[in-house]
């Protein structure tokens, strides 16, 4: 039976799922001059951390939003820094001469306009926004893989015996998602075996958006006995 106290207890897992859902509501856009139709998360991170200035031999330039839910989700999902951490990082680069300050714009519409007219520009906007004049890049976790949007998520049950003993932790799982969006296979990569069993049981009920082929996805679920 699902314990009502599971909801606050697995808040970290919910947060992860929420951010993933928000990241799934984003789209990464690029100027047509960019020689790519997809981009890996690693390359996207390198570009926005000013570590990489080209993609498939074409020059690229990151464009960011000043604020907003999409901005926060993009940073958390793909860059791994908060807004203030990223601004501090950029200032360190600028004032040591390592790089330029990227462009920050006020709205998604401004980002689309700028990306459309600026050679090499790459940005991110809400997935519902019209993106005339730019190309949409699909984001992949690794070369050849495809990002899948999570449509339905079931919360895992927190085993009572472990919660009482205040045993928590993070479980890492590798999912195989079918083209229809169902989770066909779950492999445990790490974590407490009892928590992993509960997590695996829940993720088998997850449903993803349809995709071109089977997709391998790594997910992490956190169990916090104090929440």
């Amino acid at each position: 039976m699902k314990d009502r106290k599971v909801l606050p207890v697995v808040a970290a897992a919910v947060l992860f799922g929420s951010v993933s859902a928000l990241a799934g509501d984003l789209k990464v856009i690029a100027n047509p001059s960019v020689q790519a139709d997809s981009i890996t998360v690693a390359d996207l991170r390198s570009i926005f951390l000013e570590d990489k200035k080209s993609l498939n031999s074409s020059r690229v330039e990151p464009v960011l939003a000043r604020s907003g839910t999409a901005h926060e989700a993009f940073l958390k999902e793909y860059v791994g820094k908060s807004d203030s951490e990223l601004r501090t990082y950029y200032r360190t680069l600028v004032f040591t001469g390592a790089s330029a300050m990227p462009k920050f714009l006020d709205s998604d519409a401004d980002i689309v306009t700028y990306v459309a007219k600026t050679k090499g520009a790459i940005g991110y906007v809400d997935s519902d926004l019209p993106t005339e004049g730019v190309k949409v890049l699909s984001v992949t976790r690794a070369k050849g893989s495809v990002e899948r949007k999570l449509v339905t998520r079931t919360e895992p049950e927190y085993p009572v015996s472990l919660r009482v003993l205040r045993i928590g932790g993070t479980v890492r799982l590798m999912l195989t998602v079918s083209p229809q969006g169902s989770v066909q296979e779950v492999d445990v990569l790490g974590g407490n075996p009892i928590l992993a069993e509960s997590a695996a049981k829940a993720v088998k009920q997850w449903v993803y958006a349809a995709g071109p082929s089977n997709t391998k996805l790594e997910v992490s679920l956190s169990f916090d006995p104090l929440r």
């Binding site: 200035k53 000043r66 203030s84 200032r91 004032f95 330029a100 090499g120």
Partner: protein, 410 residues
Amino acid sequence: MLRRFFGLASMFFLAGQITLQSQEFKLFDRTVQFHGFASQGFIYTDQNNWLTMHSSKGSGAFTDFGGNVSVQITDKFRVGAQVYDRNLGNLGEWHPTLDWAFADYRFKTWFGIRGGKVKTVLGLYNDTQDLDFLHAFALLPQSVYPTDLRDTSIGHLGGDFYGTISPKPRLGAISYTAYAGHENDNIYSGFTYVSSAYGVNRPHYTGLQYGGDLRWNTPLHGLLIGVSRRNEYSGSKSTFRNPLVSPLTLPYSTETYPLWTNQFYAEYERGRLQIDSEYRRYLYHLVVNRNLLATTVNVHSWYVAGAYRVSKRFTVGSYYSRYAVRRMSTGPIAGLFPDQTDTSLPANHIYDKVISARVDLNSFWNAKVEGHFMDGYGASTFPNGFYPQLNPLGYKPNTNALVLKTSVNF
């Protein structure tokens, strides 16, 4: 002075008006960016005068500013330059310097080169120590980043190899820097200033410098660990006049070999919390006028710092910093400089407990208030904040300091 005040006031006003977007213009179809920063501080100490200021009466001689211009020529090639000026008590004295000016070619993420006047990578903050707006604290731990001795390690005229290697994302990423060049100490620095207390006329220390830095962004998100090493061979030529040695003005020359720094560091950032710790070992052997005086200085220093971002605009922090110096001399005039070997004595250490608060008034303007509670004064021919010229009646064992600082950047 009045012009500098209006210049600084204008910079503060300008920063209040500019939003966070690049200040830029087009030149031959390339975007040229320019940025600037400025800070103004005030220090009051209850006992000894500190950092070459008359701080026991309260001093605002704590100002710096800089500006840079840079352009990305191609996706791999970048050029830029930054000018820096400061006045810290009796140091700097408003003599602007070329902070950095280099050309940078990044062949691959794992290999790039830069050449020109380059900031030296040493520990977590050597190359960013002047950029007040990047740090939670008004003064970085002086045991490792002495602001009065900034010029001895801030940069070199030469070249760097650098890059980031990440063979497997699950192993993290390793960044490296290797450099070599010519070091040219500013004659308005602390080491030159303390030399003048012994009758030496502004010696200009220059020499070969080389070293490297290796840092690992570990698989544990937010944890960075690293090590830096710096070697230097420096010398100087000047004159000196000390009645205890001779009534005449004599030539003065030094050779410093070996001179090296080892620095180990770690940083952990998780959410709103940041914890830093560094250990530095600094050793040099200096010979004056071919063994008239030979001095070996051995410094061990470390700190542990924590900062917590309470809200978007408010950060609190604290650190504990320890500095200990041992100095031994030989030669005909060594008797003028008694050995310093007992680090339990206040003259041979500085233990600093610090609490600090930072308020970000907007994205470009911040203000800080900080308290320092120092045990010891570490007075030596190798200074660390306390100078005989500003404390002619001798030193008190402890010093408490209030530091106020505000800075802007755009």
